[in-house]
C-alpha cells in the first residue's frame, strides 16, 4: 500500500438503539459461558 494513497472510507456503523426483537435467551450451558466471559472482561 502506498502510504500516500487516499484514506479508505468506511461507512458509518449504525448504532443499535434498541435490543434485538428475538425473545430467545441462552441455554444454561451457554449462559454459564457468557457469565465467564463477562467476568473476564470486567463487565460483572
Amino acid at each position: 500500500m502506498d502510504p500516500n494513497e487516499k484514506k479508505p472510507v468506511a461507512p458509518e456503523p449504525a448504532k443499535p438503539p434498541t435490543p434485538p426483537s428475538s425473545t430467545e435467551g441462552y441455554t444454561p450451558e451457554e449462559e454459564e459461558e457468557v457469565q465467564k466471559r463477562l467476568e473476564d472482561l470486567g463487565y460483572i
Binding site: S22, E30, V34, K36, D40, G42, Y43
Partner: protein, 317 residues
C-alpha cells in the same frame, strides 16, 4: 451464540513504532490465564511479526493474514472467515488484531463491528523519535493517531524531555480524546490497554484493601456502581456519553426500563458502545466499574447521575 461475545482490541502504529514489542511485553506480563487469540497482519509472504510472538504458549490461536493489508486489500469475506474460525475453534474472550504499519484502523474497526464483535479499544503505538516526520510525510500515520483510544508513546529513551513535550502537544492536537501513555521498548506499566485489564480494576474496586499498592503504581483509581432498579435508557445513555475525560474506562451490565434484554455497555476514552444480552432473570442487579484518574472528584456526581436514572417498579412498569 454465546461465543460471539468477544472483545476485540486493535493494535496499530506506523512502521517500526514497536507494535510487536509492546504486544510481546503485554502477553508476557499480563493477560495470562485468559483465552486470547491474535490476528497478525503482515504484508508479504513471510509474517515476520508473527514469528516473534508465535512462541507464547498462552496465546490460544494465532492467525496470520500475510497477502495484503488488512484495512484495504483483504476482503470482508476472508476477514470474516478468519474471525469465524477463531471464534468457533478457540472460543477466545479477547481477540487482539495487530495491523500492518500502513493500515488505517478505522475501516478495520468497522469490519470488527460488522462481524458482530465488540470493539474494545484502538491502541496506537507511536515512535517518539520519528512520529513528527512520519505524520508530515504520510497521511496514514495521522489517521492511526486520530483513531486511537490509547496512544502509547514508545521509545521514550531515545528523545529529550523537550522532545517529549513537543511530541505530546502534537499528539494532543491530532487526537485530544486519547489517553497518552509512555513506554520504553514496549514496556508499559499501566494495565488499562486491553479489554481483559478491566477485570483487575474491578476486583480491586471491590476490595479496596488490596488496591493501595496498585494505585500508587499507575495512578489509576476505580469505583463500582451497583443497584437493583431498572434504569431509564435515555438518561443512562446521556450519562455514559458524557463522562468526564478523567474516566478512562467504564464497563458494566444494566437493566433498562421496558427492555427484556440486558444492556452491556463499554466506554473507552470517551467512545461509548452499547450491546445487548438476553440473560436469565437471576441477573437483576446493575453492575458497573469506572476506571480513571482523580475519580474522587467525579465519583459522587457519576453515582448521583446514575441514581437519577433509576426507576422503581411502579415507575418502570
Amino acid at each position: 451464540m454465546a461465543s460471539r461475545h468477544v472483545a476485540v482490541d486493535i493494535l496499530t502504529g506506523f512502521l517500526g513504532s514497536g507494535k510487536t514489542t509492546l504486544l510481546k511485553h503485554v502477553l508476557e506480563h499480563g493477560l495470562k490465564g485468559k483465552p486470547v487469540a491474535l490476528i497478525v497482519n503482515e504484508i508479504g509472504d513471510v509474517g515476520i511479526d508473527g514469528k516473534v510472538v508465535t512462541g507464547l504458549n498462552y496465546v490460544e490461536k494465532m492467525v496470520e493474514l500475510s497477502s495484503g493489508c488488512i484495512c484495504c486489500s483483504i476482503d470482508e469475506y476472508r476477514f470474516d472467515l478468519a474471525i469465524q474460525e477463531i471464534v468457533e475453534t478457540v472460543k477466545p474472550h479477547l481477540i487482539i488484531i495487530e495491523s500492518t504499519g500502513l493500515a488505517d484502523p478505522e475501516p478495520l474497526a468497522y469490519r470488527v463491528k460488522s462481524a458482530g464483535l465488540h470493539l474494545d479499544a484502538i491502541i496506537t503505538v507511536v515512535d517518539a523519535e520519528n512520529v513528527e516526520r512520519f505524520v508530515g510525510e504520510t497521511e496514514v500515520a495521522g489517521f492511526q493517531i486520530a483513531a486511537a483510544d490509547f496512544l502509547v508513546v514508545n521509545k521514550m529513551d531515545l528523545v529529550t524531555p523537550a522532545d517529549v513535550v513537543r511530541v505530546k502537544k502534537k499528539l494532543t492536537r491530532l487526537n485530544p480524546r486519547a489517553l497518552q501513555l509512555e513506554s520504553v521498548r514496549g514496556a508499559i506499566d499501566a494495565d488499562v490497554l486491553f479489554a481483559t485489564d478491566v477485570a483487575g480494576h474491578r476486583d480491586r474496586a471491590r476490595d479496596p484493601r488490596a488496591s493501595s499498592h496498585h494505585l500508587a503504581h499507575d495512578a489509576f483509581g476505580s469505583f463500582i456502581y451497583r443497584s437493583s432498579a431498572a434504569l431509564d435508557q435515555k438518561g443512562f445513555e446521556h450519562v455514559i456519553e458524557n463522562l468526564p475525560p478523567d474516566v478512562i474506562r467504564a464497563k458494566g451490565i444494566v437493566r433498562l426500563v421496558d427492555r427484556d434484554w440486558h444492556c452491556l455497555f463499554n466506554v473507552t476514552c470517551g467512545r461509548s458502545e452499547i450491546g445487548w444480552l438476553k440473560l436469565s432473570d437471576d441477573h437483576s442487579e446493575n453492575q458497573a466499574v469506572f476506571i480513571g484518574r482523580h475519580l474522587d472528584r467525579h465519583r459522587t456526581a457519576i453515582l448521583a447521575a446514575l441514581a437519577a436514572c433509576e426507576r422503581s417498579g411502579s415507575e418502570a412498569g
